[in-house]
Symmetry: C2
Subunit: 402 residues, 2 copies
């Protein structure tokens, strides 16, 4: 049994957090956050595949070779990306300053940055205000930490999940940011998970990779992937359970808790997608391979014509047909089927349900619904959750920096 | 020497055209067009790669086996796509009805349709009004024909180019439609070219394929490709020149005229892109292969974050860097360079021009400019012309059918 609880990254025992305004963003917006465990523990990470990874991503990958973590320091308002050797030095200094306060090795501190690409990080602000941030570290600091990592997000994104392992309650907590540049294989997306369970690092890495594959890799707001995408999961064993055996039922339960936590954060990101008025699930079935199913799902989820029709609540499913036809896989029109929620619009054999339009129009007026496409080539499937494309998406992104 | 002239598909001698309202669209919008040559001649075609080609595309591919053409009949307001056996019968009937009037074999008439996907073509309207359309065939009918093929287009798109072959003036004329679903490898795009030069059909097909590769395949409005994309070129030899030798200088001049005609129509399509306020040329150089250069160009030209920044005239080039980084090719940040028109923003070695932002902001306020990306891997290049992403794109597509 896995269930939702209250709180965020500090819900698991032994974790503290804080967030402050240090001056990267206009006052009084929070722009610097920290999460710290009372003791070091195993840490796992999944990073962007972008060819120009940001400085904090490079630093985190280096630190991850040591496989242990104590804290994460994160700023918003500046991505510290495409900043060269200077940016790398700045990210390392952020980790070192935090490590000095906690009295741990620099490689146990991880760094996250999100915001505008290219400008140098304003290190004087960070140096001056970091002591104040560290002094605020506390159990109740999860929400201000989750607030301090946001950019164009309109909502704080937090999760806490509890389950029992070996008769003891353990907790998985998390926070995330992301609203634009959101696409499978991540995005301008940061997510930080914490747990008071205890695992060997390889098991934790494997569990995180699986959870990310089923959550953050299945969402798309605008087809963009960024230079800064990072998901980290830190375990400290404070719940007092023994180290999880990777083949045990307890491990399966922990995996389920981590999956639920990642999916909850991922769907919060979609719900807060830039300008989004709806969340739509594209479910592709009947593909020959999973990658074929994903290819079709991505094509639909990034089609501006489909996304504007979702916004306009216009049952113009010809656009879905055209997009499936251009996706790449050799789909035959006779095998194609299409449903909105439980209303089958196109049956195999190109038969169209006579009164489908009226019923689909009603479904499209909902905040959440599913569009299922079947291509009759095999048994592989894929799902992507996405948003519509609205005036507000254009407004937000035409003037993000101004 | 190749130069622009006045007129459209009837500028070459021996070609007539007409357009009328037959009732597919609301009155009084023109929705049925015909182009006819006084004599049959060789014809060449390039069609959509979409897996669900529309009925007229299937019919045209069949007719093209005969390699000769006399006329093209085109409707707007209905794509006759995903309409199964009935749609195929309807497209064939359109060709047959037109052939009956002209007294030519059915396979010398080609069909084009553009509009909403799925609904059946209203054949009674077409049957009733086709005689009136054919009766209007005339030299001065090019503009009404060019008007009758439009959907969300706001402007008629025509071209006429003249050059001298064997001391005789020959003309290439053309018309096109397309505003949304525009992407390399074509789009909801129809283009019809005519010429009074004479070539063997294989030479005409090769010339058209080359001209399309450098024009319609290099434009993108929204990354969509449709079920109906068709480019046809009909030659009738009415100028009286001998059959062109494919290896002659005359052939090179004809190719140049056809290239110019296709590029002029393609750029007219971009200029009329749905909601477009600008036309931006993305030029990628220094790639290892042409397909690598095209891959980067397409990623930039379809990025919603870049296209909204173009609309907002915001010199946020970090979005271009992030998009190049996610495009796929293994670009190194040290080799990357970026320029807006003649202003180099990023030099190789990650050096950023200090006062670039102010100068780039001024360039971005122009209606047309070039963004050049160099990736330092080789000597291959590619160009794509695209539009910005504006409120109007969303407005037009959220309510296209309403």
């Amino acid at each position: 049994m896995v269930k939702f609880s209250r709180g965020g990254v500090t819900a698991p025992s032994g974790f503290l957090a804080a967030g402050i305004h240090c001056g990267i963003k206009p006052s009084p917006l929070l722009d610097l956050a920290v999460i710290a465990s009372e003791v070091a523990g195993p840490i796992a990470g999944v990073f962007t595949t972008n060819r120009f990874p940001a400085a904090p991503v490079i630093v985190d990958r280096l630190h991850l070779r040591h496989k242990t973590g104590r804290a994460v320091i994160i700023n918003s308002g500046n991505a510290n990306a495409f900043t060269g050797a200077q940016g790398l030095a700045d990210a390392k200094e952020m980790a070192q300053l935090t490590a000095d306060f906690l009295g741990c090795p620099h490689y146990q501190v991880y760094v996250g940055s999100t915001g505008v690409i290219c400008p140098r990080l304003p290190m004087p602000c960070i140096r001056e205000h970091l002591p104040r941030l560290m002094a605020r570290l506390r159990k109740g600091g999860h929400r201000e930490a989750a607030t301090a990592i946001l950019t164009t997000d309109t909502k704080v994104k937090e999760v806490a999940i509890v389950t029992k392992l070996q008769g003891t309650t353990i907790t998985v907590g998390g926070m995330a940011k992301g609203a634009g540049m959101i696409h499978p294989n991540m995005a301008t997306m940061l997510a930080f998970l914490t747990t008071d369970a205890m695992l060997h690092q390889p098991a934790l890495q494997q569990a995180l990779s699986q959870a990310v594959e089923r959550s953050f890799h299945c969402i798309s707001v605008d087809g963009e992937t960024s230079t800064n995408d990072t998901v980290l999961c830190l375990a400290n064993g404070s719940a007092g359970t023994a180290i999880l055996d990777p083949r045990s039922p307890d491990m399966a339960r922990f995996q389920q808790a981590l999956n639920e936590a990642c999916l909850a954060l991922a769907l919060q990101i979609v719900d807060d997608g830039e300008g989004a008025t709806k969340r739509v699930e594209f479910r592709i079935t009947g593909a020959q391979t999973t990658s074929e199913a994903k290819c079709i799902a991505k094509t639909l989820a990034t089609s501006p014509l489909i996304k504007t029709a979702l916004f306009g609540e216009d049952p113009n499913w010809g656009r879905i047909i055209a997009a499936v036809g251009r996706a790449g896989p050799r789909v035959r029109s006779e095998d194609f089927a299409l449903a909105f929620d439980d209303v089958i619009v196109v049956h195999p054999g190109m038969k169209i349900t006579p009164d489908a339009e009226r019923r689909v129009r009603r479904i499209m007026q909902k905040k959440r619904f599913t569009i299922q496409v079947t291509v009759g080539r095999g048994s592989a499937a894929a799902t992507i959750w996405t948003t519509d494309l609205s005036y507000d998406y254009v407004r937000i992104n035409a003037s993000y920096r101004s």
